[in-house]
Symmetry: C2
Subunit: 391 residues, 2 copies
Amino acid sequence: MSVTCAQGFRAAGVAAGIKNSGNPDLALVVNDGPRFDAAGVFTRNKVKAAPVLWSEQVLATGSLHAVVLNSGGANACTGPEGFQTSHATAEKAAEVLGSDTDPWGAVDVAICSTGLIGAQLPRERVLAGVELAAGALASDEGAGLAAATAVMTTDTVAKQSSRTDPAGWSVGGFTKGAGMIAPSMATMLSVITTDAVVDVPVLQEALRAAVRVSYDRLDIDGVMSTNDTVIVMASGASGVEADPIDLTNALTAVCKDLAAQMQADAEGVTKRITVRVSGAVTEDEAVVVARTVARDSLVKTALFGSDPNWGRIAAAVGYSAADVNPDLLDVAVNGVLLCKGGVAAGDRGAADLSGKEILVQVELGLGDGVAEILTTDLSHAYVEENSAYSS
Amino acid sequence: MSVTCAQGFRAAGVAAGIKNSGNPDLALVVNDGPRFDAAGVFTRNKVKAAPVLWSEQVLATGSLHAVVLNSGGANACTGPEGFQTSHATAEKAAEVLGSDTDPWGAVDVAICSTGLIGAQLPRERVLAGVELAAGALASDEGAGLAAATAVMTTDTVAKQSSRTDPAGWSVGGFTKGAGMIAPSMATMLSVITTDAVVDVPVLQEALRAAVRVSYDRLDIDGVMSTNDTVIVMASGASGVEADPIDLTNALTAVCKDLAAQMQADAEGVTKRITVRVSGAVTEDEAVVVARTVARDSLVKTALFGSDPNWGRIAAAVGYSAADVNPDLLDVAVNGVLLCKGGVAAGDRGAADLSGKEILVQVELGLGDGVAEILTTDLSHAYVEENSAYSS
């Protein structure tokens, strides 16, 4: 089901005392090989957390033996001391997990962190946690779940997914948080594993393609974190070489499933909203329009109130940076056409928004560009959670 | 105090039955000359309301005798029928207010509307309202206040301002709503008058300069309306030619005062937030950074909760489109330095955010670019008002 679904991987999640609550806060995912191909996608925020700077650096080799993840602190805006903590954590993992016959270096270990920005991590607790987690490593489903649980912050459920290809290899993974380009208050961290035999360039390309249409199309509140990270590791343990297209499809399926789970668990969500834009000049322009609608506070509050306020949707389309002809604009909500050619059409009352799922469809009438963005409503609970919780 | 402060202007505000509530909903501002110079600034939304399309067209002449404004309906996304309503309203005003010796055309009348998008205005009521308002025109303070009151939607107070130049001319105006580039749920409409003698190019340039540092620097929720309009009319009735710089300064002072009143009255506001960015490469980049911080839902909810969460501010700076060096970044909240050189500094607890005014200062350390954006917090009341009120 999770990162332990693919052969060649062990995982663990433990309570290292980083969180004051005593909840699990340190996860470890280890690749036992025989291959150690790896790739990553990171936040585009210019203020990058120490673990992001560290992991980008070690992934330049295209090889990883393990990933250490912690919740309870983002280790962002922590300067040289914070970077040394990430480095020391990787060294500790290498020291504990390497062997005489298979010596590791810190360069074989990626680091991910999530939590409050600006505070130093309690380094000794993190290092002790790595030892603890190393002793708890296992390859069963429970171990994968423990790792997925230890990275949770405001998540209410662990988020895992897997796919098995008929050719005999699998992909599994977990995630936490609520976005990628636009991860809500919670940083988005995801580790994905596969036992397919795959070279690094293919793996990197497949991951980029998968993220582009999954995590990158989830936009809760337009905020981009300092820590967002997606890492994929390939053990080759199945002995089966993956077709690049099949691998991309499997990674995409897992990432889309995980993104949908993040949408469903986003902070304060009462509505799961899909904004589908068609008829844009290009796919990129469809994304721009869908993202603008998905981020619009007035659209999001209206949908929280179950109000099919298509005028706010039309206004958001109009101020997006994309090509728009107002006279060709159609808007439908939950299948009911409310705006045709830029003018009111149909019966507002016919659009039933009382359920949890809302589909907003925007047709621009200009070209073939199509895209979907997943988002949520803007609710009282969102305000409550984000005003009361320092994250 | 208001649009009637400058000589040569009369105003009125009446209840025309456009709003179901029976509250005042139609305002008229008339320029009695001897000059009729006029200029306007309009929304950059590509979905423009009928009154915006109409007013942009008539202002091409650089001359206006009157502005008719209504609340209770935006007349946006209303197609040819909506445009005909704006046209008919201007014709009615010309018919009622022109005379044999001073015949007006519809082209002498600008139209502004605010309210729900997508519904046709009740044209007959609007036309009858114009007649009613024409009969109520007066040049006293009460008349100016009546006009400022009739355009209110979710505003809780009428917003007026004026300045008198020592040279002997005045500027007055009113506004409604909560933004310009980014007018909250409420469209921003503003009418400004002056009795200075001023040619159209100078008037247009002064208005643009004033709007750029006032309405354009107020950003409640990043949403741009279909109807935003600022119109200035100059009667020349003082007989005094305005120095272009003095005129720009007076217009700027009035627009800044009105923008601050909009900030204070923004829907759901519990905190008035000023985001001041310095050390940017250029002023434009300072605006980009300040606007990104001002729009960030996580920053806005933290400040609603009186939490000096500078990490969220640093993250927002980092994903802005401007040049940023994280190692040079300083952040202070209410005068307390919390982040120095991209790392925690000072005592979070020392920043007292319990009051209604919050100053966020960001120093980028890169250049001389400075800018301020005014915004508000993201509160429960914001969510309530915008989920319950169809606007």
